[in-house]
Symmetry: C4
């Protein structure tokens, strides 16, 4: 497959609700960055998290194997720091090879499930 | 109509819930790639499905007639293999003529319907 | 304001549920194309609706005054023909001046409200 | 970090429901423009709100500090005028440095929460 994707992406929206109506991992309130690496080389992705009232945290470092997808939960990020709940944030992704990034939230603060998703902003 | 669209598209998010609250086809949990072929020639579209832990599957081959839309459910893909449920995936679309691709999920794991949608990533 | 926007847009997803849980106009199941004309000249927009199994219908002709937005419900289109309910469709927008198009569905087939939205595909 | 983002953005959809099922600020029906300023200089952002039947209002002036995100609720805008509820609008963002803008609505007109989100239209 010819190269497809971009190296720099941004998601301006970010908010992980602390509350959930379910204990099942699939239905706990979460935000995800779906990262597709369609090419033949491993992707090294540096993620920076921005806040409204403090310095950014990062880089969070993830690798995505060639021809693989990683549906990365912001809830699961721990190094260099946990992403705080009930807190506004944004994120920027910088990869050494072309990738595609899509943003999703599953929100189960109340008894039903709400979803949002958007292709992230691709720069350059 | 002048040509409109692109030949290569990607959707980084993919997840078909196995569970549904309804048996009606329109309300069963599903993911759709809406593919518009606005031009005068038949579109031959090769779809590759990427996973987190195994080699990609594909190509799935679909054709979209000239001046027609195809709302393709990933649930319905069977050749070369069914798309597994409750499994993270991504998809790439390669067409021989310009098309437009939009991604939608209808999620009815619980008693209500949740929706997400985004214009896919257009490459090149 | 300097010109902002594009002249050609496409929305691959289209589906107006026939069913609604509410009779209030704001909560009846509907799909909307939000069309912003930020510039100083009237926008003449031709809309073509594409289907899966029949020839496209159009053009639907709408005008958007200078510095105005039009949140156009596909439900309300009648000339040259009503947009059928419970039917897959797509749409293409061609304007004589730059505009911005965003797609939204409010789905109230069941007792709650579900929403989806995406910036449409901008061509050229 | 190298500059990422664009200076001009538009959101064609806009609608703040007057009704909410909750009194908690996080769950009151609202629309948000998430604005990320990833660079090293303060962003001065002028926002213009467009309507269907009257002249635009603006500029609303906001600043986003370097390396910060601002999740700006349209509900909170008061100068030069409050954004009316239950009213169709659109918005345009003009910044002196590159930013990224994403649009979100949380709709709690009924007892559950519905969400929509999309990366805004980036111009130029």
């Amino acid at each position: 497959m010819e190269p497809i994707g971009r190296k720099r992406w941004a998601i301006a929206e970010g908010y992980i609700p602390a509350q959930s109506s379910f204990s099942d991992r699939t239905l706990i309130s979460h935000e995800t960055a779906c990262i597709l690496n369609p090419g033949g080389r491993e992707a090294h992705v540096d993620i920076t998290i921005f806040f409204s009232d403090r310095e950014p945290i990062g880089p969070y470092r993830v690798t995505v194997a060639p021809r693989r997808t990683l549906h990365l939960r912001f809830n699961d990020l721990t190094q260099p720091a946990v992403v705080p709940r009930d807190t506004d944030y944004s994120s920027v992704f910088e990869s050494d090879v072309p990738i595609i990034v899509q943003h999703t939230r599953l929100d189960s603060r109340h008894a039903e499930v709400s979803l949002l998703s958007t292709t992230a902003y691709a720069d350059g």
